[in-house]
């Protein structure tokens, strides 16, 4: 029970963090730099998984991705496959829950980058994407790194939405938090203790990393 859950959790959290790092950075950039109507509404929508109870988010995910869901039904009809009860559901749930952390961190990080650097880069011949990757990102790396680390820890600890969308299937969708829940509910105290210590250690490492990043001189 312990090893499969640990392995699954690491894989899910890593994948979710990769997805969220890309999407979150992109969204943070748009929110920081573009001015458009409904910008704050977009920000609010992207922040929603952070403030909604995870079970509500889980419910929406089921409505969307279940076999009879808005997206799930055509998918099932076309491929005979559906999201619930698969490890992919774990990744989706973790990503959705971790996304707001990355978006907020990225937005703040980009807002603190002086736009004049971008103008200067343009006058030196950089194109848009070159400016972004070689000038802006390095300048924003402290905030972005903090966002990534926070997103990872959020993805690792995800429980409610995962339980609803992916179910609790040992070896397949049972992540560390779900394994702890089951160990407690079935009276396996020793297992629950080990699992909790494992998750705590990883979280402590993550918190320490965030602390180190805060002191990092860009």
């Amino acid at each position: 029970m312990i090893l499969p859950a640990f392995r699954l959790s690491l894989v899910v959290a890593t994948l979710a963090t990769l997805i969220v790092a890309i999407l979150g950075t992109w969204a943070g950039w748009i929110l920081a730099r573009q001015r458009f109507r409904g910008r704050e509404i977009l920000d609010a929508l992207l922040t929603l998984p952070l403030v909604l109870p995870p079970t509500v988010t889980g419910y929406y995910l089921i409505v969307l991705l279940g076999r009879r869901g808005l997206v799930g039904e055509p998918l099932f009809r076309a491929t005979g496959w559906s999201v619930p009860f698969t490890w992919i559901a774990c990744v989706i749930a973790a990503s959705i829950m971790a996304l707001p952390m990355m978006v907020r961190a990225a937005r703040v990080a980009f807002e603190e980058v002086d736009p004049r650097h971008e103008i200067a880069a343009a006058t030196l011949g950089h194109g848009r994407s070159s400016t972004f990757f070689r000038v802006v990102i390095p300048l924003a790396r402290r905030g972005l790194a903090a966002g990534v680390v926070l997103a990872f820890s959020r993805a690792l600890g995800e429980f409610g939405a995962t339980l609803m969308l992916a179910g609790n299937i040992p070896g397949r969708t049972q992540t560390l938090p779900l394994a702890i829940f089951e160990a407690v509910a079935s009276g396996e105290d020793r297992t629950a203790l080990w699992l909790s210590l494992l998750l705590t250690s990883v979280s402590v490492v993550v918190v320490l990393m965030v602390g180190r990043l805060a002191k990092w001189k860009p």
Binding site: G66, R68, A185
Partner: protein
């Protein structure tokens, strides 16, 4: 003189108007297996009618979880579990009050399927790959899941079906999976069908002797704040009125030979 008489009569009126309740409003906390929820609601109403001043608060969840809560000191007045295993544990730990443990009902395992799903005509049918996902309760924490696992093992189906199984954390969740269409079939108690109305359809019953008899037991935990109330409710469950309500919800009476 007139004034005093008036005062006297009006105070008598006050006494007459006062509802007859017990000195303390007795609130009984009942932790019960999820499969009992429907029946318990009717039982509580009837019990409250016969015992004015008593109010029942229901805490329904998987028996395994309820057991853990009680072990950790939850102030439960009556524990109703869907199997003997939880009761055995509690009894061994000295967590039950005296001789309060009794069997008050029994149940049967059945297969259910949702609208639009293939129809199983027997448990053997589940081998068919058309049943891509079969939902059962988590065998570690849900008695219904344990009975389901027992039946599948007894029928030699476990090895074939294991990779297609999805676990629900309680019976309601198993039914939800089937009703939602995310599972093609589920194994639940016969009495659970009423939980989701017409959304889930009744399939075959588990063949005899493929699982241990499903016994519902009641006991008053040692730490109950209102042990007397718990005992009274337990007696009510065993009474004719209580048994009639249980039968109405699809439960079967306790077999005679059980403790």
């Amino acid at each position: 003189m007139c004034g005093t008489t008036l005062l006297l009569f009006s105070s008598l009126g006050l006494f007459a108007a006062e509802p007859r309740v017990a000195d303390e409003r007795e609130v009984l906390l009942v932790s019960a297996a999820a499969s009992l929820k429907g029946a318990l609601q009717d039982l509580s109403t009837q019990f409250a009618l016969e015992n004015p001043g008593a109010r029942i608060v229901l805490n329904c969840a998987a028996s395994g979880l309820l057991l853990r809560q009680i072990e950790q000191g939850a102030p439960v007045d009556l524990f109703l579990s869907a199997s003997t295993r939880e009761m055995d544990r509690l009894q061994k730990a000295g967590g039950l009050l005296g001789k309060s443990r009794t069997t008050f009902a029994s149940n049967r395992l059945v297969a259910v399927y949702g609208p639009g799903a293939p129809t199983p005509s027997s448990f053997e049918d589940l081998r068919n790959r058309r049943f891509a996902r079969i939902a059962i309760g988590n065998p570690k924490t849900v008695p219904a899941g344990r009975y389901a696992a027992e039946t599948l093992h007894a029928l030699g189906l476990w090895r074939d079906l294991e990779e297609r199984l999805v676990f629900g954390e309680d019976v309601r969740q198993v039914l939800e999976y089937v009703a939602r269409g995310d599972a093609d079939a589920g194994l639940v108690y016969r009495t659970d069908l009423e939980l989701l109305g017409g959304k889930v359809r009744l399939g075959p019953e588990a063949p005899e002797h493929t699982h241990a008899p499903i016994l519902y037991q009641a006991a008053v935990p040692a730490g109950a704040p209102h042990p007397e109330g718990g005992r009274r409710l337990r007696s009510f469950l065993l009474s004719e009125a209580g048994q009639r309500i249980l039968a109405r919800h699809g439960f079967l009476p306790a077999p005679d030979s059980t403790p």
